[in-house]
């Protein structure tokens, strides 16, 4: 046998299991963990501008923020999204022929993935890379609370004014989709890492995940509402 006869296995196939593990892991840590942190910071809005700005300042002052942001948020998120997209493309959804609860949950996990990804792209271009979609208000560096409130309630993009109810509904949908994807993701994570060994443990753990999802949704709505009530 010469070396040329050895079939070359594509890189993606050679590292298949590792990549699947990393896809599963990045969804929880750091992406899911960041979602919780993000809600934590944003819910400061409930207490008004002073509190919110203090917390944002604390984050802005973190050492090596650039590395933290790219290494622990953007890159893992991009990997999770791109690899997840590749996985999702290979499936044949069939919840209409087999309308069981878990089949729907599976389908929703994919639908919310697409919603969350679209939402996140707009959200990032609006607030993090605000010079792209944020509108003129972001040109002047000012009070973070005021900026966020402007972005949610008086968003101008490319000379078009977006009514507050549209922006807010967009945020409610995006947030709910992200939370569903995360909460259901905890459940599938626990199965694929061998923690839940059978249907009984899966049953009670699904209620834990449901509770996590409800709490996180409400938490997020409160944060949004904080920006509405504090003028």
């Amino acid at each position: 046998m010469s070396a040329t006869e050895t079939p070359s296995i594509p890189w993606l196939d050679r590292n298949h299991f590792l990549l699947r593990r990393m896809h599963s892991l990045t969804g929880i840590i750091p992406v899911g963990a960041f979602l919780i942190e993000h809600l934590l910071t944003n819910s400061g809005s409930w207490y008004g501008a002073a509190r919110y700005n203090k917390d944002v300042k604390w984050i802005q002052d973190l050492p090596f923020l650039f590395v933290l942001e790219w290494g622990f948020i953007f890159l893992p998120l991009a990997f999770h999204a791109i690899y997840g997209f590749v996985i999702a493309l290979g499936a044949q959804m069939n919840a209409t022929s087999y309308p069981y609860l878990n089949g729907w949950r599976y389908t929703l996990q994919r639908i919310t993935a697409y919603i969350t990804l679209s939402f996140l792209i707009v959200h990032l271009l609006k607030f993090r890379f605000a010079w792209i979609l944020g509108g003129p208000v972001f040109a002047e560096a000012a009070d973070w609370f005021v900026l966020t409130r402007q972005g949610l309630l008086h968003w101008h993009v490319g000379g078009v004014y977006v009514p507050a109810w549209i922006t807010l509904s967009f945020y409610v949908i995006g947030l709910t989709a992200a939370v569903y994807h995360f909460a259901n993701g905890i459940w599938t994570f626990a199965i694929s890492w061998g923690v839940l060994g059978g249907p009984d443990s899966q049953r009670w753990f699904q209620y834990v995940c449901l509770l996590v999802g409800i709490v996180m949704c409400l938490w997020g709505y409160i944060s949004l509402w904080g920006f509405v009530i504090h003028g």
Binding site: H16, F17, G90, A91, Q92, Y106, P199
Partner: protein
């Protein structure tokens, strides 16, 4: 009691030929099942419009839901023709019965499909207990009644393919081995003699097309005619694979 049964069949003349529909009307007999309908069609292959046609090709062997060969899509959901009673189908749709071949395997002709992919995957995961030898190996190890009780449900698998047909992750163009193969991995890994091949099997489960292809839609549990505990099988498979993965990471 109805006089007739109307059966609409999705037909296909050969491997790559286009499919077409034909409708038949046959006399109703009490307690008839879908295989009986197909036998009646074969006796007199004339369509509803009165056109003479060829008998519908289908697979069948045991006629008692233990071989799995007659698996097809009946009224859009996958099950065995021999154990599906027309009377029960009338509750789903009193007017007609639709028969379609399975969609995840190449259609050989009409309702007969080629499921050799399942057999290849069984070989891939070494779904057997290695007891071949040219001398007497003596009695096998004892298996506790508790373990027997746990494993018996897995052994009911008849490789019919219902779990793969209903699985959104199992498609014609991917390599997923499907729920049945994962459940059988757990069955043979849990057998004291079968466990000799445990690492080989888990290695296969970690390859492309292995267990990580599962998306937890869990339709495999709902559609299994033999009530194989596929959800437990996959959960246990994941547990074994995770343990093996950590072992591989840290023990060298």
């Amino acid at each position: 009691m109805p006089e007739y049964v109307t059966v609409r069949v999705k037909r296909q003349d050969g491997l790559d030929s286009p499919s077409y529909w034909e409708t038949f009307r046959i006399a109703y007999q009490p307690r008839m099942n879908v295989t009986t309908c197909l036998q009646q069609i074969a006796l007199n292959p004339v369509t509803l419009e009165g056109r003479k046609t060829t008998p519908v090709a289908y697979d069948a062997a045991c006629l008692e839901e233990v071989c799995g060969s007659c698996t097809m899509n009946i009224n859009g959901s996958v099950r065995q023709a021999c154990s599906t009673l027309v009377e029960a189908l009338r509750k789903e749709n009193p007017n007609e019965i639709t028969l379609e071949p399975m969609t995840k395997y190449p259609v050989m002709r009409d309702l007969a499909v080629d499921r050799s992919r399942m057999f290849r995957d069984l070989k891939r995961i070494k779904a057997w207990i290695p007891v071949d030898g040219y001398y007497d190996l003596g009695p096998g190890p004892r298996i506790s009644p508790k373990l027997q009780h746990q494993l018996y449900p897995y052994s009911r698998c008849m490789t019919c393919g219902c779990c793969t047909e209903a699985c959104p992750q199992y498609t014609k163009d991917n390599r997923f081995i499907g729920a049945f193969a994962i459940s059988l991995t757990v069955l043979f890994n849990s057998h004291p003699t079968g466990a000799v091949l445990k690492e080989d099997r888990l290695k296969e489960l970690m390859e492309p097309g292995g267990i990580s292809e599962c998306g937890q839609a869990q339709n495999c549990l709902r559609v299994c005619p033999k009530s194989v505990p596929n959800v437990t099988g996959i959960a246990q498979g994941y547990r074994q694979v995770t343990a093996q993965w950590f072992k591989n990471l840290f023990s060298r």
